[in-house]
């Protein structure tokens, strides 16, 4: 048994909210730099260079990369030998978000009720997903999610007979419909299998995976490569203004499913694919 103080969680979450909104992970920067070399459209290249400049300004002058600093998604992988002390864990996470968004000059983009729509004023509540895993560590991933791209995400409840071709069609449909609204170049998180909600969760998790690490299953890895090429052939381009850089990566996650179904969730993220992971 290992004891972790909940105020330690609060402090960690706070720091991660800030870090994620000012600095992208190295793999995302590499994707941007690489695409500048391969983009064929002059306007597309100009936009990609502005995005490179934007990342530099964000880090140097401490201005969030994007003004939509997102609704905060938190993945908690909690070792089953961990004991939390010092109060409600859920509230400790929310307090971390609250402080991170206040002290980090991040935008408060959350309304407390989807119909009444009053801003909660502190970007809470975050959306928290808990997983219990073996061990005595806590792995935390904070992923602020902008809604330009979130709003273009889709779920498709396919039939088993639709097979892999149906999956490809679903991904391309979602990306084509998203077009310029989702701030391309995009990162595409795909969840295949499970149930309705499991597919959606997998697709969100897929966005937090390092884009230089392919899927484990060989068919999923091939799907990632084929879909990235097909998406870039759509020529939506940077900012949706044309060019062969429509997506930086396609990350696929899979799970077992029911004999009667083939759920496919496509979670679209803009080029500001933010996530930060730490293990306590």
């Amino acid at each position: 048994m290992r004891t972790i103080q909940t105020n330690n969680i609060t402090e960690t979450i706070k720091e991660m909210c800030i870090e994620a909104n000012y600095f992208l992970t190295e793999d995302m920067k590499h994707r941007l730099d690489a695409s500048y070399q391969t983009e064929t459209d002059p306007l597309g290249r100009q936009i990609l260079s502005k995005l490179q400049e934007n990342l530099e300004i964000a880090a140097k002058d401490l201005i969030p990369i994007c003004q939509d600093t997102g609704m905060t998604v938190v993945f908690m992988e909690i070792g089953q030998d961990v004991h939390f002390e010092g109060g409600d864990l859920n509230e400790a996470i929310q307090e971390g978000v609250r402080r991170g968004y206040r002290e980090g000059y991040l935008r408060k983009s959350v309304v407390s009720d989807p119909i009444i729509r009053e801003n909660s004023g502190d970007n809470t509540p975050a959306v928290i997903h808990y997983d219990i895993v073996p061990g005595d560590r806590v792995k935390i991933t904070v992923a602020p999610k902008g809604f330009g791209s979130e709003s273009m995400s889709r779920i498709f409840m396919l039939k088993p007979a639709d097979g892999i071709e149906g999956v490809k069609n679903a991904i391309l449909t979602a990306v084509r419909d998203a077009g310029p609204n989702a701030c391309p170049p995009m990162v595409i998180g795909v969840g295949i299998g499970g149930t309705f909600e499991k597919a959606a969760l997998l697709s969100k998790k897929a966005l937090t995976r390092d884009t230089s690490v392919p899927a484990e299953k060989s068919w999923a890895k091939e799907l990632e490569e084929e879909m990235l090429a097909a998406i870039n052939e759509l020529m939506i381009g940077p900012a949706g203004l044309g060019g062969n850089t429509t997506a930086f990566a396609v990350n696929v996650e899979t799970y077992a499913t029911h004999i009667a179904g083939l759920p496919v969730a496509v979670n679209i993220c803009c080029h500001v694919n933010r996530h930060s992971t730490r293990t306590i």
Binding site: I57, I63, C66, L241
Partner: protein
């Protein structure tokens, strides 16, 4: 074509704007997004005055992040314009001449743009840090309770945007 324009736009300048032009905007513009548009619509329905002179104006669909001490504004990139489509034709008919955002617009907005000779620009989505550098003054002029969604009067200098839909209705998006 690259060009530098001042707000308010001159009628002859508006006529010559073409989808695909790279434009640097200088002058006074106003921010408004979802909640502010809803309030403006309600204001008009009550027969009251809008919080800023709409005739000849330019709206930037923006909800900035908070400014640090010494900064004019925080991150300041565009939000998706399509969510404002429901409210936009009426504003165009009242003289709105320019919109800055990102993403597709409805057929109703396009028709109202052609009818009134207005232009729709895209700013680069997700480049909020870069774009904030072009904003030299920011002041909340209405709906302060809406936080980031309040209406702000901005002074911009050489704000880089691209003409996505010109006053003839030509659209750069596929």
């Amino acid at each position: 074509m690259e060009r530098y324009l001042k707000v308010p736009f001159q009628p002859e300048e508006l006529k010559t704007m073409k989808a695909g032009d790279f434009v640097y905007i200088t002058g006074t513009i106003y921010t408004a997004r979802d909640a502010a548009h809803k309030r403006m619509e309600e204001t008009l329905q009550r027969g009251e005055e809008l919080p800023f002179p709409i005739d000849g104006s330019v709206i930037y669909y923006l909800g900035p992040s908070p400014a640090r001490e010494g900064q004019v504004i925080g991150s300041a990139g565009p939000t998706t314009s399509g969510r404002m489509d429901k409210y936009t034709p009426r504003l165009l008919d009242l003289g709105l001449k320019g919109m800055i955002g990102k993403g597709k617009r409805s057929a109703e907005v396009r028709d109202a743009m052609i009818r009134n000779g207005a232009v729709y620009f895209a700013a680069i989505g997700g480049a909020g840090a870069l774009l904030s550098k072009c904003i030299t003054a920011s002041e909340i002029i209405a709906y302060e309770d809406l936080g980031t969604e309040a209406i702000r009067k901005l002074t911009v200098k050489d704000l880089p945007v691209i003409v996505v839909m010109d006053p003839e209705g030509n659209c750069l998006y596929k």
